[in-house]
């Protein structure tokens, strides 16, 4: 339910619009933020895929939340740009056109930057939130983290979405 309405948001969200990329001081092209962020999330924590957690839908849900500041969204978007520009610098291709080990190399590289580490931290945090989210949010239908970590506290569960 929530996800359907949030998907409409995608059209007007910053995740919907393309991010312009520069390479060797000239405009190279554009990248899709949501596609980049969700791929980076899986590269950073493949377990989310194994546990069938829908991190893309969670990003759409959470980045529309009133408590997520505009400056934070801007920061995430800038990270998309750095990631692709670093990919171009190292391998001459956009991040999502690289092989898995090349993408890991790029992540390693950007983690060395002052802003790179907090960007990775933010993406991992959203993955963990998705992984631990209640079933009512529809992105973690099988209580993945709870089962994986044998977590049996946290009752009562919400009957409806509070976010």
């Amino acid at each position: 339910m929530i996800l359907n309405t949030r998907r409409n948001f995608f059209k007007k969200s910053f995740l919907g619009g393309a991010v312009l990329l520069f390479y060797n001081s000239s405009l190279y092209g554009a990248a899709e933020p949501l596609k980049t962020l969700t791929l980076a999330q899986v590269d950073l924590f493949p377990k989310v895929k194994e546990l069938h957690v829908d991190t893309a839908s969670y990003l759409l849900l959470i980045l529309d939340h009133s408590r997520i500041t505009a400056s934070h969204k801007e920061f995430l978007r800038n990270g998309v740009q750095w990631l692709h520009e670093e990919s171009l610098k190292l391998h001459g291709k956009l991040y999502y056109n690289l092989l898995e080990h090349e993408r890991q190399e790029v992540l390693q590289e950007i983690s060395e930057y002052g802003c790179g580490e907090p960007w990775i931290d933010a993406l991992l945090t959203y993955s963990m939130e998705a992984l631990c989210s209640d079933v009512v949010y529809g992105v973690n239908k099988k209580d993945a983290a709870q089962k994986w970590l044998g977590f049996c506290a946290g009752f009562p569960h919400p009957k409806r979405a509070y976010l």
């Binding site: 590269d43 950073l44 924590f45 493949p46 377990k47 939340h65 009133s66 408590r67 500041t69 890991q104 992540l107 983690s111 580490e117 990775i120 931290d121 991992l124 945090t125 963990m128 939130e129 631990c132 989210s133 209640d134 009512v136 949010y137 983290a145 994986w148 970590l149 044998g150 977590f151 049996c152 506290a153 946290g154 009752f155 009562p156 569960h157 919400p158 009957k159 979405a161 509070y162 976010l163």
Partner: protein, 552 residues
């Protein structure tokens, strides 16, 4: 309609007055800016409650401006919304008492006479209270019965005098690790005390007993076992509670408050008339409302002709620490005990409530021990960085998370000692920054006296000794000048002298005939314990005073 009593704020400071006076037959209205949630609305949705702070205002709408004093005595300014620095604790019926953990300690007799017991401290406005422990004791006892405090009275060096020999509710069930704690204390010759809690262990007071949900602090209680002002008091009386009513001004003539003005959720203004007004919007907001309620009789803010409103703001001094227990060093039996969820840790040390240093008598404090909060996300996030503080991901992160969360557990401690009142720590108004209602926001001027940190460190070292003796690893602690926003008091201190206090002994404003303040604002010093038991007790005391006044 003219009410007998109008209360602003429905938390621990306001609700005892609402409960007592409405049950005594007086007409009582409570104006509360937050919404109403009941037991059935509460759940353990970590994303909404903890990550997105469902129960506190969005800083974009309502914030504070914070000024921190540096060593060069210059103020550094922080806009709350820009720095995500929040001093909100819970805007809802029952206030932040819904979200408290309910670690309850009484203040000690000497806390009521800090100046006479320990002498002057340079740079601090230490005073004696105009009230003694003996005068407040019957109300501490009343809170035990009516709000519901569970525990076990054990003899120790600083056990305060009690009019009853037992708590009315037996202590909550405890995790097996408390046995390790008790035996560590025994070998160190430390006095282990079961921590009293504002939680009832079984059904009583028309409330359910605790379900040991393990998500207590920061979360509303779905059983009603927690002694929130809402569950214990407001739901038990017929005081009228108007929700989403943000009081922005108290109107007065030269001697009396005449009206409270509030905005509803549609930004429509309303006014309430009453014979008596009781302010309990939590320490910072109560001072803010008074300072924002200027008029021709009180040009500097209501009850502020002596320039005392907002002064001597205090928090709990101290800090927190932790140690980790890992399976590698434990027997199978101990591993099971460690991972048992639900049951409480509930242990405190008060042996150094007063201690000697270089032959000088020092006022010390309390150390509470508790398991790390069960919130999953912060525990997972702790695994994000390796020993070199570099971020990790992929398989390495997955394995670390799994190991940390399934084969180890962290025991925390919290140190509570005096945050000495000073001229540098106070509440003001930031005229040019307005909240969503268009009202100037509060400015919080922060400063902690160096002695606060010295005492905090002395106490933390004792806690570390216990953790070491218990066999914990990765022990660390942090005692700092960062204030805990949820344990806040002062700003309208009570006292005999109108030149140095805002309220008299009855918590009535010296300068007005019918204005009382019953949240923690009245406290001139804070004691070395969390404040809520004292806030509840004092509010019951003022309720008695008001009842007599209204009856006559």
């Amino acid at each position: 309609m003219m009410y007998d009593v109008c209360i602003i704020g429905s938390g621990a400071g306001g609700s005892p007055v609402a409960y007592e006076l409405s049950r005594a037959g007086f007409s009582v209205v409570v104006l509360e800016k937050g919404k109403e949630y009941k037991e059935e609305d509460f759940n353990k949705d970590e994303l909404a409650v903890s990550r997105r702070e469902l129960f506190t205002p969005d800083l974009k709408d309502e914030q504070h401006v914070i000024y921190e004093l540096n060593e060069r005595k210059e103020h550094r300014r922080y806009l709350g919304s820009e720095h995500q620095w929040s001093f909100w604790n819970g805007s809802m019926v029952g206030g932040s008492s819904n979200l408290m953990s309910g670690y309850f300690h009484r203040m000690k007799p000497n806390d009521f006479k800090l100046l006479s017991a320990y002498g002057e401290i340079e740079g601090a406005n230490v005073v004696d209270w105009p009230l003694s422990y003996e005068e407040l004791e019957p109300y501490y006892e009343k809170v035990e019965r009516i709000v519901g405090v569970s525990g076990e009275v054990v003899s120790h060096s600083f056990l305060e005098p009690r009019s009853t020999s037992h708590f009315p509710y037996a202590k909550l069930e405890e995790n097996g690790v408390t046995k390790w704690f008790d035996s560590a204390c025994k070998s160190l010759n430390f006095e282990s005390i079961p921590t009293p809690r504002a939680i009832i262990p079984h059904a009583a007071l028309k409330r359910n007993g605790c379900s040991y949900s393990n998500f207590c602090g920061s979360y509303g209680c779905a059983t009603g076992a927690k002694g929130s002002a809402r569950a214990a008091l407001l739901q038990k009386c017929d005081a009228r509670v108007i929700t989403e009513a943000f009081v922005y001004k108290l109107e007065s003539d030269a001697t009396k408050v005449t009206k409270a003005h509030y905005y509803d959720s549609d930004m429509k203004t309303h006014e309430i008339s009453a014979k008596i007004f009781v302010l309990a919007a939590q320490a910072i907001e109560s001072s803010r409302l008074l300072l924002n309620s200027k008029n021709r009789f009180f040009p500097y803010g209501l009850a502020n002709n002596n320039n005392q409103v907002g002064k001597n703001l205090i928090f709990s001094g101290g800090g927190a620490g932790e140690g980790r227990f890992r399976f590698e060093t434990l027997t199978n039996e101990q591993q099971k005990e460690l991972m048992e969820v639900g049951l409480f840790f509930n242990r405190s040390l008060q042996q150094w409530y007063e201690y000697k240093k270089s032959d000088k008598k020092i006022k010390g404090g309390t150390i509470d021990f508790l398991f790390e909060h069960q919130n999953l996300i912060p525990r997972i996030k702790r695994a994000f960085y390796d020993e070199r503080e570099k971020i990790i991901w992929g398989k390495a992160l997955e394995q670390k998370i799994y190991k940390e969360l399934t084969t180890s557990r962290v025991l925390n401690f919290e140190v509570f000692n005096d945050w000495l009142p000073t001229d540098e720590c106070f509440v003001g108004i930031e005229e040019e920054i307005k909240d969503k209602y268009g009202i100037p926001v509060g400015a919080i001027y922060l400063y902690s006296h160096p002695i606060d940190r010295e005492v905090g460190n002395d106490l933390a070292k004792k806690a570390v000794q216990v953790l070491e003796e218990m066999g914990a690893s990765e022990i660390s602690y942090s005692i700092s000048s960062a204030p805990p926003p949820n344990i806040v008091a002062g700003g309208c201190r009570f006292g005999e002298n109108p030149q140095t206090s805002v309220l008299d002994k009855n918590c009535k404003a010296h300068e007005l005939e019918n204005l009382y303040v019953t949240d923690a604002s009245f406290m001139p010093t804070g004691g070395s314990v969390p404040y809520t038991w004292t806030v509840y007790a004092n509010s019951f005391r003022v309720a008695d005073i008001l009842r007599k006044r209204l009856e006559s």
